[in-house]
């Protein structure tokens, strides 16, 4: 049984149909790269998996349990699925440590001491042991994004969703963030990441999903898919990147 299963997910914004029947299963420990042109629906798909967008039709099944669109179910979904954003979205009025501690305390009702222990552990994991007391505006983009990853991890999600987590970074800061993601992948974290870093996708991901006009157009092993794309759309997408 897959950890997360998406069945015929449909989502529209007004007249605009953005997801037109997405089927995807995410296995435990799997690292999936989601690629596709701008506007193909990658972010929207990720956001539905975290309950940030409510789907119009279809089903999201986590651990064999169907998620309804009731608030309680959506909250439950978010506890199992973490998300990291392109723009970091750290809380500017809290230190790095407080950013990571907040949700475990407030949402999971952990004691301050427990939350702090987990938060420190996560910040050490992303290489920020010496920046815990810094505010976001005292950190570089790469450091901020690593705090954001630690913040999501502190909730102990089963799946971590990453939406173009390096796109807002200066080129020299990209690698420190990718290194953290790679480390998570190696530790067995289940990951779904929207990325334009094709080399990284090839090296780290188990499965490549190519989205085109709101549908999954092609999927497969990254090496194979890159070497011999079956559809002209993926072919031209990969060609355009080279």
């Amino acid at each position: 049984m897959s950890l997360v299963e998406l069945h015929a997910i449909h989502k529209s914004f007004g007249e605009l149909q953005v997801l037109k029947g997405i089927n995807l299963s995410i296995d435990e420990g799997q690292v999936i790269a989601l690629i596709g042109k701008s506007g193909s629906g990658k972010s929207t798909l990720l956001r539905t998996i975290n309950g940030l967008e409510v789907i119009d039709d279809g089903a999201i099944i986590v651990d064999g349990k169907k998620i309804s669109d009731r608030d309680a179910d959506l909250l439950g979904l978010r506890l199992q699925v973490g998300m990291v954003f392109q723009q970091f979205n750290l809380f500017p009025h809290y230190t790095a440590l407080e950013n990571v501690m907040l949700s475990p305390q407030v949402v999971k009702k952990q004691s301050k001491a427990d939350a702090r222990k987990v938060a420190e552990e996560m910040l050490i994991k992303v290489g920020l042991a010496d920046k815990m007391m810094h505010y976001p505006d005292q950190l570089s983009g790469g450091q901020q994004q690593r705090v954001a990853i630690a913040r999501a991890l502190a909730m102990k999600p089963k799946v971590l969703l990453c939406d173009e987590v390096t796109s807002a970074l200066d080129p020299e800061l990209v690698n420190e963030v990718l290194a953290v993601v790679r480390q998570l992948a190696e530790e067995g974290m289940t990951l779904v990441m929207v990325t334009h870093e094709m080399r990284f996708a090839r090296e780290v991901c188990d499965k490549l999903v190519f989205m085109h006009q709101g549908r999954i157009h092609e999927t497969g092993d990254p090496e194979e898919v890159f070497a011999s794309p079956k559809t002209p759309e993926l072919s031209s997408f990969v060609g355009g990147l080279a």
Binding site: N50, G51, N89, P92, P136, A152
Partner: protein, 217 residues
């Protein structure tokens, strides 16, 4: 006619100024609480609730404070509720304050980026938790200057309560003038006292602004 020394004038004005301060404080605190509730309704409520709050705000922003006081003071007795000048002034100013603060704070909440809502939602927070830990602390920082600016308006606004016979600073000034025939002196003191109430508020605003340094760029 008894002789009034300057000290007598100042003493009597000071006694009355206590009521100005009390009225301002009450209106501001109660208005702030009501304003906060309205802000929550305006932020989280359905279309209906949002519309109602907007009408409320428009109503109080679109009419003079004096008329609002008249309507409370002369209107409530018509439906059988007798109301003292103090109660009328307090009620009127509270409503007035809540409408303006709701609107000021709504702007501050809306200035907090969508990313803050999304990040906190994705971490499993509920609306009240997001408001309490993420949105309001940041909105408050932006809200300090306009809120304190408005509190000065409330203090000065209490002067209209003199029209319905509530003896605060301005009304006391009028009464003393009638006894002393020295309007320039008396109103000069009145003005100084208003200034002494309002100026510290501005200083306080500066202090608060320095206190929360880290907010969204």
């Amino acid at each position: 006619m008894s002789e009034f020394s300057n000290w007598d004038i100042i003493y009597n004005l000071l006694m009355a100024a206590r009521w100005t301060v009390l009225l301002s404080l009450t209106a501001f605190v109660l208005g702030g609480l009501v304003g906060l509730l309205l802000l929550m309704a305006r932020t989280a409520g359905g279309a209906w609730v949002k519309g109602l709050v907007r009408c409320y705000v428009e109503l109080f922003q679109g009419t003079p404070l004096l008329m609002q006081l008249f309507i409370v003071f002369f209107g409530l007795p018509l439906i059988g509720l007798d109301i003292s000048p103090w109660m009328a002034a307090m009620l009127g100013l509270t409503l007035f304050t809540s409408a303006f603060l709701t609107e000021i704070w709504r702007g501050c909440v809306e200035a907090i980026g969508k990313g803050q809502w999304e990040a906190s939602t994705s971490l499993g927070m509920k609306f009240t938790q997001q408001m309490r830990y993420i949105i309001l602390p940041q909105a408050m920082r932006i809200a300090v200057p306009p809120t304190v600016g408005f509190s000065v308006q409330v203090v000065k606004g209490t002067a209209v309560a003199s029209i319905i016979g509530f003896v605060e600073l301005t009304k006391a000034g009028t009464m003393i003038t009638n006894a002393t025939y020295a309007p320039f002196t008396v109103y000069g003191f009145v003005a100084v006292m208003y200034f002494l109430i309002c100026y510290p508020l501005s200083l306080f605003a500066g202090y608060l602004e320095g206190k929360f340094r880290h907010v969204a760029r």
